[in-house]
Symmetry: C2
Subunit: 644 residues, 2 copies
Amino acid sequence: MTLENSRYKVHFLPGDVSVEIEKGKTVLDASYKGDLFINALCGGDGTCGKCKVILNTGKVDSLPTTHISEAEAKQGYVLACRTKVMGDLEVLIPEESKLDKSQILISDYPQFSGSLAAATSGLEQFEKKPLVRKIYLELSPPSLDDCMADYERLCQGVMVHANVPWEVLATNLTVLKRLPTLLRDAHWKVTATLGYRGSSVEIMEVQAGDVSAQNFGIAVDVGTTTVVAHLLNLSNAETIDVEATYNSQIKYGDDYIQRIIYAVQNNAMEIMQEVLVEDINHLISTLVKRNKLSIHDIGAVVCAGNTVMTHFLFGLDPTNIRREPYLPSASFVPPIKADDVGIKINGNGLLYTLPCVGAYVGGDISSGVLAIRLDKVDAVSLLIDIGTNGEIVLGNKDWMVCCSASAGPAFEGSGISCGMRAAKGAIEKVTITKNFDVVCKTIGNTPPSGICGSGLLDCLANLVRSGVIDRTGNFQKGIDTERFRKTDDGYEFILVDKNETATKKDIVITQADIQNLIRSKAAIYSAISTLIESMGMGVNDIEQVYLAGGFGNYLDIRSAITIGMLPDISVSKVQFVGNTSVIGAKMSLFYKDAYEVAQTIASKMTYFDLMSNNKYMEEYMSANFLPHTDIEKFPSVAEELMVP
Amino acid sequence: MTLENSRYKVHFLPGDVSVEIEKGKTVLDASYKGDLFINALCGGDGTCGKCKVILNTGKVDSLPTTHISEAEAKQGYVLACRTKVMGDLEVLIPEESKLDKSQILISDYPQFSGSLAAATSGLEQFEKKPLVRKIYLELSPPSLDDCMADYERLCQGVMVHANVPWEVLATNLTVLKRLPTLLRDAHWKVTATLGYRGSSVEIMEVQAGDVSAQNFGIAVDVGTTTVVAHLLNLSNAETIDVEATYNSQIKYGDDYIQRIIYAVQNNAMEIMQEVLVEDINHLISTLVKRNKLSIHDIGAVVCAGNTVMTHFLFGLDPTNIRREPYLPSASFVPPIKADDVGIKINGNGLLYTLPCVGAYVGGDISSGVLAIRLDKVDAVSLLIDIGTNGEIVLGNKDWMVCCSASAGPAFEGSGISCGMRAAKGAIEKVTITKNFDVVCKTIGNTPPSGICGSGLLDCLANLVRSGVIDRTGNFQKGIDTERFRKTDDGYEFILVDKNETATKKDIVITQADIQNLIRSKAAIYSAISTLIESMGMGVNDIEQVYLAGGFGNYLDIRSAITIGMLPDISVSKVQFVGNTSVIGAKMSLFYKDAYEVAQTIASKMTYFDLMSNNKYMEEYMSANFLPHTDIEKFPSVAEELMVP
């Protein structure tokens, strides 16, 4: 307990944002208060070193850190998360530490009718019946010979026109209270909104006349890092618009385990929920305004997220997700009123979520399996979704197994000295010649600010191909290039000179970065490999590989095989399927039957816990090599790298 | 619009209750404000003349009325409903004008195991499964080999122990949020409360340990005049306690048509709902306190009421009930949270209502049919429920028809000079000898204050038997008794001399009273008769008659036949079944299947609208006689009255 009540002003540049904050809070806290997104991948733990800011004036209390070099310290650099406010401050947020919402890439998420069509062509189609439907009814007016009550008359109309059995029809008091006047004012011609609620169908609303075309829904991919929302016209199954934002929970931790710890320690389940719901509401209201719609016409939201995000969305206790034996509070929450969690759509609108399989395989994966209709194919297929975590599903229409690999956040750019998220200015492709010339391609073709996941992976493959590093990941002795140098922290390889970067600092990859990336790829590879072996299969039995997640879109598949992240399979078997989480959510929204299939999928999938699996640990150790200690598992790479 | 803002004080005696009220409001309004129940059967229309009060001091503006005699006017009598407050007043409420809640008779409502058992003995019993159940579960704790999520683990337990299919199970966010901590604190031994919600079963609550015996419910008969609540132990199907009150809506009109008019004209649906819900809440809290229970353990309320009361309970618009073609807003409202209408039980507790058949045959009648299991008997039976309205059901297990007769409020004591409700001091039995000696029996055996329904009926039969009146209902010319006299208003017969009454006034029956009663009995008879004829049957085809409603209990059946209210059948065929409305509500609460049977009953019953039925009007005219113009329809009465 402290009695200290002093408050100080922190003035942030550029942008001239001032906030008042109590003495002793960190500069990072102050930035959150001012709604400034500072890159703090580790969530303020002091481990990622991304939240560097420059202290122009004022008194602070800064903890020592290895992330700030002496040179930087002289320029006034401090870590925002390790620096306590002890007086009025002026703080400059440098370009590389900013997290700018406008940088989220959504332009090339495949649309529903896009790349997915290829994956599912020839498969059974669902009946065109969205989760929330609007049905236009012309009821026969009552008479002395036909004195059925208003509500029952409506139900009869719904039953006949929408083919819904009487006994599952339900409604709410708002509808019942307004019904008599409405029916008569509308001369018995009305539109009924029907919401699917599992074992019942709710008449959510009744409107005068034919407004059945005014039926919209929102599909949301609730990611740990980003939240992506699609606005859909439910009357014709078209995607109207897309919007994305960072998950504002980032301020409580970059990965979801950190957020669970924060939520549990601070009893902050409600705060985690509020923050997430606010993000979703912001996306919805942006989409609605931009397309000149009414929030009233949004009758349904379908969210697909991992198990932790799904817990936060409902305000459920996630404590046991990270405690052995790793249990969710609930794997599946049946449809509820969106308003019950604070999501602002039609007052009677419904919230649906995709079912989770277990603590570490969530609704985003059920959604992904639905999106590629893995449950309908004969071919043994692999779905790999690499986001903040990596989830893998193996199977076909007859069986499905899945697991989750703790790849660590390296592919998200965290824990890598020049790592960054896939955003404008991120290096996404790297070529290194035998002469150690380096060519980098950035997202948006602007001067580079750092390297994102696909760039890091490509870089690693090219470092080994060009002989800069050996198969253990160590820099080769005696490489003759100025790009190679030793610093206080060890060896590093310069990819881009500071004169050519946006940050005016060299973009490098260090020995530590390389080992970090190898550990990450080894985690994914060994998960895939263990899953295949556990089914008594070999790599050659895999007929199709689907790469999902934002990461997948920019990945060089050959590079992923060269470093041994993916097993040695033909590149032609691999297909990018984009954000399958949002695609599955959209399918559920459009097709009630798809929403039900997702539940069957989730209940059908067998979850393998890798942490307690000895085979996995052995495989992981062997995979801490490029591509693997057993090169015979990678014949094409043996040839490429000319391993004898 | 008035700018008049003066307020005056009205002081009521006895009891010393003072209220402040605006100038121009009536003394009746003032009494409501003071929560004093003045007898105002007509609801303040000035027609019943029951709200006589004595003005001790103060200035009023009183409308002329025929209900106050000159002698009374001299003593200061005014009608509370016709008298406007124009200054500070002192008002005395005389004994006969008081409506005292403690007078409501509930002591001899038959208990569930009482007279009903006889009516239904040998009939199929329902499975012992209440609408809200508490199930004790000992769940197996999770392990790495059994990592089912908490909620799904609970569902599995419910599925196995309570035999509920997985796909109909639902729950609420409160349960889900508390579940993980609760399950672990309780070492996986919990009690789940399951609420039946039509197409789904809601896990309403989960509690630690075995509290399955703490399961209580309330069955309510929501009458137009009285509201009766039974407290039930759902774990052993026992009735614990009973409580009753007047329906506080009385202040807005004595019969439900007046209340509809009030509600519609004043847009007062919410007020009508609040008043009714407050009555129910008052009954519940009284029962809970008296039996030292917790409101938390009340998980369900089942209400049976006529269509209008059911509308008011849900706050539904009753406008079209009294407009051709006479439609309810809804005949059946599926289970909702009790809290949604403001009923205070367990926060997740459910409210169930019995289904209505039409505008004038309500849930109280479906409930009654269920109570006597008319849907299971072979014998062609008649259920007659005479309350504020009279409803009649004819049928057996194969078919059912029903109708409603506007008997008028005469049998409730309204519109009858010395009429009163069945309360302490009401004459319930009358004997008149050939010498015109009169013997009266009162409820509670106290000095009489007036005559209730059964007394009026008995009186009418004995007036004709003794020859005081002829079969047209007119006083016989030349009757030699001091009891017979002429006043300014016509002829009257003195039943009890003022020296022997509680009111110190003669208790009389007037020519107008007699005609009023004949019209009422004619309405009921012709409804019964039309219903029987409409099925191509005769009176002799009726094998069993059930008399329901508070009225039924005190009725002299032979007298009812003598005056021609009931058709001429053997008295042995007639059985009193008490308040079948509350009995059916209790059956529904105890047995989920009974609640469903009530819905089948309601949908199976065919409603006959008598108002548009010519046969009914003809029959009604012929029945305006004692017992009937066609004496051949009443052979036993012809013999009794020695009609040639």
